[in-house]
Symmetry: C3
Subunit: 345 residues, 3 copies
């Protein structure tokens, strides 16, 4: 029993605020790429590199800009931003995580916790003392919500998510499997060669409409909170250390690490694998390239990088990296030569 | 009550297709390195660096090539590839994850899920609607298998594994603890400074004989699937983004990140900490060095690198990295000098 | 019902072995930074960069060195090392993970496992055959402890922690959520283009007073154990491969990867994002900088680096990285020029 979601072109046009080119009653039952789409499916052209697939697509209709629509003989939904159209349409065809409400018999909810009757606490989930699960929130299964934590309205915790104690997650967030919010920050004082733990007394505060990727970790603050603002999107396997603050609508790709107390502005993007040292301030609208190592604050918007010398065969790379170690010496010799040549002239 | 696995040399020789040098009835009850082996244990010599330990080993028998066996006065199992012999023998001495079948009383299996009578669903595991657990498959405990996912014959999910919905894992795979398969790909369209989520409508398809490391994450496809072919081996903490395809028998070490839609050939190896940009194509039998940053497709087999300038004391490194920022300037000055010297000559 | 922890200045002074400047009966009920502290709170000055906030702090008392205390008009606890004072005081104000003992009704403990009456096995946790949970140990919830594993006295496993089989964790350790100890090492022999798994027969041995971060993974040994010595502190998302040994009191920051059989000395620090190749030996008291790639053993104490060319705008970075590929060529041309100029002179 598979329920297929179907829409007419006119229903889609209304939802997407697009103009129809073709039969408004044509039925669409899926979404696909230009290359793979079948007759009953909707597709889109956003990246010019894929224009070559347009003339031969079998899609029932294609989301296109007015320019492209003119060149196209098939059915189209015409709009200014087909990629945005794709994003919006994708959600029409999503199966969703179910509509259950209540607490599964195998879940364990502490007496002093509050679960809204319109929330769902899935199988083998644990909700500790004082925690609050708001209306429409869903814990799919095997989740752990520590004491005094909050899961806001409409927020979904996928399977195996952990919120430690005193973590507040806002509304309409998606927390993917294996993510950990509120683990202790890495703080120690050194004494006689040993490490004395600094208890991490702060919490984690996550705003609304935030998405947090699988196995990403967000540590609680040492004093005060680690703060993730509204609309932030975090990919998988990201490390956010204690007392980091991330500004509104900043998006961070996988495998990034952000050290303690660094403050990142709003509207930033950080590409995969980058690392930021602690106690930095990154301005709004800064875009950091992949695998960059950021050790100083960035005070103005724009693109920044510090890494990546380009792929090359290992032999070529070996020769050049050996020279890297001679770079300072080479610079000095170059200067000496310039002086010598100048004297010769 | 510890059950020790014991084999005679002749049993081992038959299993490993090796020639015996010594007493065929000699009993072996374990496997160890040349340095640590005791009288009742089997050892091996694969790496020439360890030849120095051969003459003094206390091992009951050693897996050796014919050449080495000639030089060795003790008992031996003689074979072409002692490292392969070690691999095969290691599995004889493994304790295994138990032989239970059935569904533990604390596990939660949805009514529309199918669990083969020869499968094991361990304690506090959750199997959602429409999921299929095939014969010989084992979920050790605290696992979450989302709706319509499949765990193939003989596949093991260790403790705390998550398969989200619509994830298909083939036969004889091993999925280590904390791994997440089928989390949403990181896809958003930007509109008016905010991110609009692109629902991730594809799935994850994992072939047979695949191993996936602890806390590794594999995102579901946006449209179409993320595909991991037969025989792929993934280490821990790897990020595989949406719509990535990894070819047969490719092995990837820990902490690697692969961005969306990148296609990796078969028989490749990628060393730890490397990052690959999105939409690349990597040929078959490409070997990528550690911590490399790959931003362009690689069209021919062989070894590639892009990173790692060699360890040096911080002082030396500081001097050279300052010069790196002057490299373009140095290159221009060098060219000018060459011209000047040429004119002087 | 929130229980606030309160101490008089004289109680704190005794605990911290500090000298009081001010009213010994003054009541302190929290800890905060100089900037944020209120009247009833204790603060500290450890980093000279924050001295500017001292004169205007509203803190009820400040932990200070004798020098700073002289300049300060408010109440103080005077001590040699205020940062250590902060660490010690922080633990006085910690809420703790509860004081329950026993086994939660939803937990599943195998018949042959041993749980001390003074230990706590939290909801939906699984303890397998032969495992031992010692006095004062606590498994918060959704934890999986495999067969024959040990959780030492006073050790805490936060939510969703996994110990595979045969993992021994010492006393007073803290294992954060999502951490996996004892997953298989990444070991395969190649045969006819396929990978033959090497069963990982060793275990993991963790000493006393160790802290292991969220989603960190520690693989079991192939033969013999992976060993984490007393007092080691590991941050989040770290990969420790099979048969690695980490010496006493070494601290490793997030996103680090350590390849198989590498031995790290005691008293070392490794900054975030670094990677170490396999089979290396790192001396005691070595300090490795962030995102370093260490491919050779380090035989003497001190600071080492191999990475990070400094943040720069993408345009500048592009120009210089192109030159990097010409570096070997530039070095040769430089040498030729030196020769030519020498002949000209």
């Amino acid at each position: 029993m598979i329920s297929v979601k179907q829409y007419t072109l006119s229903e889609l046009a209304e939802f997407l605020q697009a103009e129809i080119k073709g039969n408004p009653d044509c039925v669409i039952s899926g979404l696909s790429t230009l290359q793979d789409a079948t007759e009953g499916q909707l597709s889109f052209l956003a990246n010019p590199a894929y224009e070559k697939y347009l003339s031969e697509t079998k899609a029932g209709a294609v989301m296109l800009t007015p320019d492209m629509a003119e060149k196209f003989s098939g059915q189209a939904l015409v709009m200014a931003n087909p990629y945005l159209g794709f994003a919006k349409a994708s959600r029409l065809f999503e199966a969703g995580d179910g509509e259950q409400v209540g607490v599964h018999a195998s879940a364990v909810v502490a007496e002093t916790a509050t679960v809204d009757p319109q929330a769902w606490v899935g199988p083998c989930s644990v909700v500790e003392d004082g925690a609050v699960i708001e209306a429409g929130a869903r814990l799919l299964g095997n989740c752990f919500v520590g004491r005094d934590s909050r899961v806001g309205k409409g927020t979904v915790l996928k399977g195996n998510v952990t919120l430690c104690h005193g973590v507040s997650v806002g509304e309409r967030c998606i927390i993917h499997s294996g993510a950990v919010l509120g683990s202790d920050g890495f703080g120690f004082a050194r004494a006689a060669g040993e490490w004395v733990k600094i208890a991490q007394l702060g919490g984690v505060v996550v705003g609304n409409d935030v998405e947090i990727g699988a196995n990403t970790t967000i540590d609680r603050g040492a004093l005060g909170n680690t703060v993730i603002a509204d609309g932030v999107k975090l990919d998988n396997l990201i490390q956010i250390a204690h007392n980091v603050e991330i500004g509104k609508n900043t998006a961070i790709a996988a495998n990034v690490g952000i050290s303690g107390s660094t403050k990142i502005g709003s509207g930033c993007t950080i590409a995969g694998g980058s690392g930021l040292a602690g106690h930095l301030t990154i301005a709004d609208n800064v875009h950091i390239a992949g695998m960059a190592m950021i050790t100083k604050s960035i005070t103005s918007a724009g693109e920044w990088s510090s890494a990546g010398i380009g792929t090359m065969p290992v032999k070529e790379w070996r020769k050049n990296t050996v020279r890297f170690r001679q770079l300072d010496d080479m610079a000095r010799r170059l200067k000496a030569l310039e002086k010598a040549v100048d004297q010769n002239s």
